[in-house]
């Protein structure tokens, strides 16, 4: 059961939490959804995320232009603790490196920013077996704290725009729901779904305190199927996820900012391996199958994430101490 819960939440808690108008931001929620392994358990997850945006779209039309490249490299550290079998808390800290490259007229211009990004605090409540045996429903409420800098200037000294900053400069509210259920006719398989809503706050000190900036609210839904098999005496968990993401337009000084917001559908094959009962490694590849952007924007081309997670049970903690 614990393995089932772990797999379900680990897979379907993967919410992209982009903070940029062009989906190039830090995937904070990529590491949200650490499992509740029972009262007193402590979980740690460490992920690396590579997000490549090299596709220029106008609406749904792909333009023949690959001169713009945005790459976001993120390192995400998540820490989770279960107060009871149902109530747990999770925090997520990030480090982010954003690269903007323009290859045009025989030159390549690179703008590079890096630093600590924003952090998430999420309170979770798990309801096992509410949808029958081998099922679990998770509810979560949280906030994103603006730990990252949002006023970085270029090396030349001029102010960089919001989507190149490591942080958003605003507090956001986050709602999270995930549902998973094991299939009775195939005990190794799980179907799951999840829904995340991000209500964004406003950065009131944007551009040297002259403007306000608010990233668009984001709703995201995942549905997927995972299974498991044993190989070399190790449990492998392949999965296939369909992800829908809708981002509203950003606002500057309260007005709609054109060329922001859109809708996407991604397919995400994943593979997780339980190295030991307490240690798992995972990798996932995210490919867009439908992209609609408002106006003309860079849109995701490819995303790759790899990570490792540890779970320390209460008993083991006592031993460690």
């Amino acid at each position: 059961m614990r393995i089932f819960v772990f797999i379900s939440i680990f897979y379907f808690g993967q919410q992209t939490y982009s903070q940029t108008c062009c989906s190039g931001g830090v995937p904070l929620s990529n590491n949200l959804g650490l499992p509740n392994e029972g009262k007193g358990s402590f979980s740690i997850g460490l992920n690396y995320d590579y997000n490549n945006l090299n596709t220029l779209n106008a609406g749904t039309e792909k333009l023949n232009d690959d001169s713009r490249l945005r790459i976001t490299n993120s390192v995400l550290l998540s820490l989770g603790y279960a107060f009871t079998d149902r109530i747990s808390v999770e925090t997520l800290f990030t480090w982010v490196n954003q690269k903007r490259t323009i290859s045009q007229f025989g030159s390549e211009n690179l703008t590079d920013t890096k630093g600590i990004g924003d952090a998430v605090l999420l309170l979770k409540y798990a309801i096992p077996d509410i949808l029958g045996t081998s099922s679990v429903v998770n509810l979560g409420l949280g906030t994103k704290a603006p730990l990252g800098k949002s006023d970085l200037t270029s090396s030349e000294g001029f102010q960089l725009i919001a989507d190149l900053q490591p942080g958003s400069g605003a507090w956001d509210a986050l709602g999270w729901l995930s549902v998973s259920k094991g299939l009775s006719f195939r005990p190794s398989a799980t179907v799951s779904g999840s829904l995340t809503y991000r209500l964004t706050g406003e950065n009131t000190s944007y551009l040297n305190n002259t403007s306000t900036y608010e990233f668009g609210n984001v709703v995201q839904a995942n549905v997927g199927y995972t299974d498991q098999f044993l190989l070399f005496n190790t449990i492998f968990n392949p999965g296939l996820i369909l992800k829908y993401r809708k981002a509203s337009y950003d606002k500057i000084n309260g007005s709609r900012l054109p060329n922001t917001g859109g809708e996407w559908v991604f397919v995400r094959p994943e593979l997780s391996v339980l190295l030991t009962p307490n240690i798992a490694i995972s990798s996932r590849l995210e490919v867009p199958v439908y992209s609609y952007v408002d106006g003309t924007q860079l849109t995701p081309t490819l995303r790759f994430t790899a990570g490792i997670s540890f779970t320390l049970k209460k008993k083991e903690l006592i031993i460690l101490n």
């Binding site: 920013t113 090396s155 000294g157 725009i161």
Partner: protein
């Protein structure tokens, strides 16, 4: 435990302190230049950190250097073959002898700069969609021909072009280099006329216009900035506002040194011809609901009377009391003489007082 916590906090603080940014430029590719090859292959890097404008008011506009690609000698097509242009679409017009060219906003919205060669003239059309300012620049600077690109930077929400020969940055509205080895240099303006396509075609039926086969994939004909043109409260970047006129009103600004005088289309409702004095210089202005143009008069010309004669069927716009007719560039089309175009340009009202001490005609 306490010690570990302190170490963790110190480490986190150091990481936070290490937030940083950098920018670098490298040359790529070799061999035969492609269609989008650098027109100035011998360019140098600008390492200067000195700016003649407040650097903290220079903002990264988002796309990055050359993220908005300038056009180089684009293919021109005849008016008959112009695509996507409606009668009300705005164009920037240029005339040299019988070579008459229109650079439509529909294309300029996506490229902002067109480097063009017309006979012996090296012209850069510079257009900022956020300030609505279109200006013709002579691409010979200190006797050396260069081309201009879009730096991706903005000052007072206005385009900052860079020249590829020295990578110096320029302010479009100030018309001078503000950073780099050419800092302080002024650009020589080349007269352009901004009007709608219908009026331009009526004046110059033989005009050519930028073809849409630019080598870049863009949705020409779709304005990229939503209702920015008409929404007086929508600004993407901070800039001073002057409440004397609606922010996005298109005005004609005459520039002398650090001073400007702005004229509105409504100024020409009662009379299509205006004689005015600004900073002790005499000017003649002609306009209607679709265009405004101004000329600096010498003493002899100031003695003449001018009549508005534009009827939408030819390029004749003005006639003086000696019978000489002039087109909108001030060229005599019957008789002899030349009216000297003023140093002026069209733009959204807010952008003029953001750069110049500005008076408004009729204030």
């Amino acid at each position: 435990m306490k010690k570990n916590t302190v170490v963790l906090l110190v480490y986190a603080f150091l990481l936070f302190s290490c937030s940083s940014s950098s920018t670098q430029e490298t040359q790529i590719g070799s061999g035969t230049p492609g269609p989008n090859a650098n027109p100035d292959p011998n360019e140098t890097e600008n390492t200067s950190t000195e700016w003649t404008i407040p650097v903290n008011e220079v903002l990264d506009g988002g796309p990055g250097r050359d993220g908005i690609p300038a056009l180089e000698n684009p293919t021109m097509v005849t008016a008959v073959n112009a695509s996507l242009l409606s009668d009300t679409d705005l164009v920037l017009g240029y005339k040299k002898g019988n070579d008459i060219r229109a650079y439509q906003h529909n294309v300029l919205d996506w490229h902002e700069i067109v480097n063009d060669n017309i006979d012996d003239v090296s012209l850069a059309i510079t257009y900022c969609p956020l300030t609505g300012t279109g200006m013709g620049w002579n691409r010979f600077v200190d006797g050396i021909e260069t081309t201009f690109g879009v730096s991706g930077l903005l000052y007072q929400t206005n385009l900052i072009p860079f020249d590829r020969a020295t990578k110096s940055n320029w302010s479009q509205i100030l018309g001078e280099s503000v950073n780099g080895s050419l800092a302080g240099k002024d650009i020589d303006l080349i007269t352009l006329v901004e009007t709608d396509w219908k009026t331009w075609k009526a004046m110059f039926p033989s005009t050519t216009v930028i073809g849409l086969d630019t080598g870049f994939s863009r949705t020409y004909g779709t304005y990229p900035y939503s209702d920015y043109i008409t929404n007086n409260s929508l600004f993407f970047f901070p800039t001073p506002k002057d409440s004397r006129l609606p922010a996005k009103d298109r005005v004609h600004a005459i520039i002398i040194g650090g001073f400007a005088k702005a004229y509105q289309f409504s100024d020409f409702e009662t009379s299509n011809v205006i004689k005015d004095v600004f900073r002790d210089r005499n000017y003649l202005l002609v306009g209607n609901a679709n265009f405004m143009a101004s000329f600096e008069l010498d003493a002899a010309q100031d003695m003449l009377d001018f009549e508005y004669i534009f009827d939408g069927t030819s390029d004749a716009v003005l006639q003086d009391n000696q019978g000489t007719q002039y087109n909108i560039f001030g060229e005599a089309i019957s008789g002899s003489g030349q009216l000297k175009p003023s140093e002026s340009f069209m733009g959204y009202w807010f952008s003029i007082p953001a750069f110049y001490t500005t008076e408004v005609f009729g204030e």
